[in-house]
Structures are given as structure tokens and as C-alpha cells.
Symmetry: C2
Subunit: 219 residues, 2 copies
DNA sequence: TTTGTATTCAATTGATCTATTGAATAAGCT
DNA sequence: AGCTTATTCAATAGATCAATTGAATACAAA
């Protein structure tokens, strides 16, 4: 094999990763798995896809080396192959955010109307949480919270937020977070909290990024 | 538009980037453009593609926001939209390297046989070049060298290396680099230099990574 | 104005991808 | 053993992609 061909073969392998990332449903599945290991049916439910379709997408991700599996009885559990997969997804998202006007438009039109304030940086949140100045609110579903969350965070899934507002102290600002930098749940939570007169802001990224940064987590 | 839909729309936009990265020829074009701006016909030549095919791929990259263009007379010049595109490509390559056995196999079988030594880190090369201990050798084609190169590097394109060996001092170790971390040219150069009794190693990454790291460049 | 050159556009063909459907496989329970 | 459940496999139809071809467009030179 000549040098020219090995280069093209290498790039063909790199393109396999690009292919795995070329479908919206698969990107969402990656983000869900970044919260922790899940079974196929759990993923299918949260992604709103059929089990067969979810399984097909997982096979694609697996062939691209992005996920691994373990079996437990009837169930098969998938997880990401490493933190580098999350970092790659975030790199891709940052590029899209910077260079695709449609992304900026969606963010401006639908996300920024819910929270136009600057998000809180992870290091700032860490300091303020340690000083007891803020309430750290995880708005993901409880299974995701159980798989891992920011140290000291409390879990109120978004759909329970209205009913459980009394659990939040009006004395403390609330910093809400969820699955990643574009997670709509935390935007919605912030908007609702503010409607009820609470001071609320969003963490800049989500649980996966906090964990990868080596900041304190619990499970 | 409900929250569920804005999330899916956002992920559809992210998937557009994945699509742009799902073809080997387009990935190669990105790496070529990371060396500096090029015209369509120059890209077509170096990529070994027809002009029409190259143009089509460039339109795909442009629609994905990854490249921009300027016109100069009859010619159209393309460049990457930002350094973040290179960083994203490198993130993708690192994931492939870590998780796709085929990549490891290609590297082991065809690249490591040419250079099984550890590559030189950028910071180490910078220090040693400043101390005058090494010769920094750029083995890319001259147009790429002219667009930008490591400060103090000399340019001997790979296909001229045999004829210009006398330009390299046997007293100094040679550190060769080219377009990126998987650039076959520098592997070939190192192998040839060693065959002729010179001490030679490879830089870990390429010119684009050196530049992005803020290290000294010239053009 | 005519000719030449660089690039894009549009159409075509064959390849590949995605969601769906239902069968097949594997595991658990009675 | 029979029934249930979770997942994968295989086939299908429609959508999308990639390379090629030749026409169209834009620019330059004589």
C-alpha cells in the first residue's frame, strides 16, 4: 500500500465517525448516554423513538466505536466509549454555534427568550455552592440524577417543578443545570422560577462537562 | 414551537456538521485548507479529484459553515471558517484513534514502521529550536510552506528530499513536520533521513496545531 | 467580439441511509 | 413446556448522497 492510499484509508476511517454524527437522533442518544449508562428501551422512551429504530442507531454508534454495551439478563445497557466522545460532540456543537446562522437563530428565538442572562461558569458555581450561597438544581429525570450529579445538587425534574417550588429557598439564588450546553430543560426551569419571583440562573454546561472537568460529583 | 421541537431542530443543525464530516475527501480538503487558503483547482490537484467534484464538496462544506470564500478575478479561494474547525477535526481524529481498531491497525502497519519513535512535543521543539539544537524541516509542498510555517523551519518537499540532503547538517537532529498528526509525508521523510544516517524525528502534530497553540510562525 | 479559463450548476446513475415492519433470538417466569 | 419481554436482525420503500458529465456563468486576454 502506497503512502497516498494509507492516508485515504485513514481519512475513510475518520469519516466513519462523521457518519455516526450525521443524524440528529444519534446525537441526542449520545447526549442521553453522556448522563450515564441506559438500556435500549429506556433510551427509546426518552428519545421518543421505537425500540427497533433506537437499536439500529445504537448499532451504528457501536460500529463507529462510540458506544459499548453490557448485557444483564434480558436487558442490554449501552454507555459511551469515553469522555472524549462528549468532548468531540461539544466541539462539533461549538463549531455549529459559531458558524451556522440557523443555530444562532434557534438559540436567540427560543432559548434566549427564556434566559437572556449570562450562564454561570462551572468554577464560579463551585465556589458559590461551597460558600452556601446558591441552590444547585438538577432538572433532569431522576434516573439520570441517580447515575451522577453535581455534588450537593437537589433533583427536581422539570415536570415537577411547579408542584415542588416550596422546596427551594427564596433566600438563595438557584442555579439550574441539565444534560449539556443546549439542554432546554434548564432554560425552561429558569424561566419558570423567575416567573415565581425566585432568582435563577443556568449553569453554562451540563453534568457531563462538569464531571469531565474533574469537579465534584455524587451518585 | 415546543421545547421538544427546538431541541430536535438544534440537533438537526448539529447533524449538518456531522454530515459535512462524513466523507473522506471532504476531511482531506479540510486538512489541506488548514495549511492556508487555496483555490478550487489547486485543491483539486492536490486532492486528486476533478474540479467539478472538488467544487461540489466545497459547496457542502460551505453550506455547513466550515469554509468561506473570496473571489479574485476568475479564481475562487476557499479557507476554513476558523481554527475551531481544525480543533474539531482533531477531536474527531483522536476519538477514531482511540476507539476504532482499524485506525490503530493502519497506524501500526503503515506509519509506525516508518517511525516508531515517540514524536517530539511542540513545546520541546520550540525550546530546542531556540537553542539551535535541531533543524526544523517542513516537508509540505512549497505553496503550503509559503502560506505559513514554523518559525525558522526550512522547506524541503518530500519529493525533493533525496536530492537536497546536503542542505541538512548531520550535526543536528532533524525534526520533520507537515499537515497534521496523521500526515504521511513526515513519516516518510523521517524514514528516509534515517536510512541516510541522519538523526530524525517527527513533530507530534502539524503546522495548523502549532499555529493554533500560539507558537511562533512565519509566512 | 471572440476565445480561453475557472468555477458552478443541474441532471443522472448507482450507492448508501433511515424508519418501519415483522421475524428471529435470548432471557426470565410460571 | 409455554408464554412474556427485550433486543437484534433482515427486508423494504423512500430519501439522500457521491461521482460524473456537460452546460452555464463569470472573468481575462487578445
Amino acid at each position: 500500500m502506497s503512502s497516498g492510499n494509507v492516508k485515504h484509508d485513514l481519512f475513510a476511517q475518520f469519516a466513519r465517525i462523521g457518519k455516526a454524527l450525521s443524524n440528529a437522533n444519534r446525537l441526542e442518544i449520545i447526549e442521553f448516554l453522556a448522563q450515564g449508562e441506559r438500556s435500549v428501551d429506556a433510551l427509546a422512551q426518552i428519545a421518543g423513538l421505537s425500540i427497533a429504530n433506537t437499536s439500529q442507531h445504537l448499532q451504528q454508534l457501536r460500529q463507529a466505536g462510540l458506544v459499548t454495551l453490557r448485557k444483564d439478563g434480558q436487558r442490554v445497557y449501552y454507555r459511551l466509549s469515553g469522555d472524549d466522545v462528549v468532548q468531540m460532540l461539544n466541539s462539533l456543537r461549538a463549531v455549529a454555534d459559531r458558524h451556522l446562522t440557523e443555530v444562532a437563530h434557534l438559540v436567540t428565538t427560543y432559548l434566549d427568550t427564556k434566559d437572556h442572562l449570562e450562564p454561570v461558569l462551572a468554577q464560579d458555581l463551585l465556589a458559590r455552592a461551597r460558600a452556601g450561597e446558591v441552590t444547585v438544581l438538577d432538572v433532569r429525570p431522576p434516573e439520570e440524577f441517580a447515575a451522577g450529579h453535581l455534588q450537593g445538587a437537589i433533583n427536581i425534574p422539570l415536570n415537577e417543578l411547579e408542584a415542588r417550588l416550596n422546596e427551594l429557598s427564596p433566600e438563595h439564588e438557584v442555579v439550574a443545570y441539565c444534560r449539556g450546553p443546549y439542554c432546554v430543560l434548564s432554560y425552561d426551569a429558569v424561566a419558570r422560577l423567575r416567573e415565581r419571583g425566585l432568582r435563577a440562573r443556568r449553569l453554562q454546561d451540563g453534568y457531563p462537562e462538569w464531571k469531565i472537568a474533574g469537579l465534584p460529583v455524587e451518585s
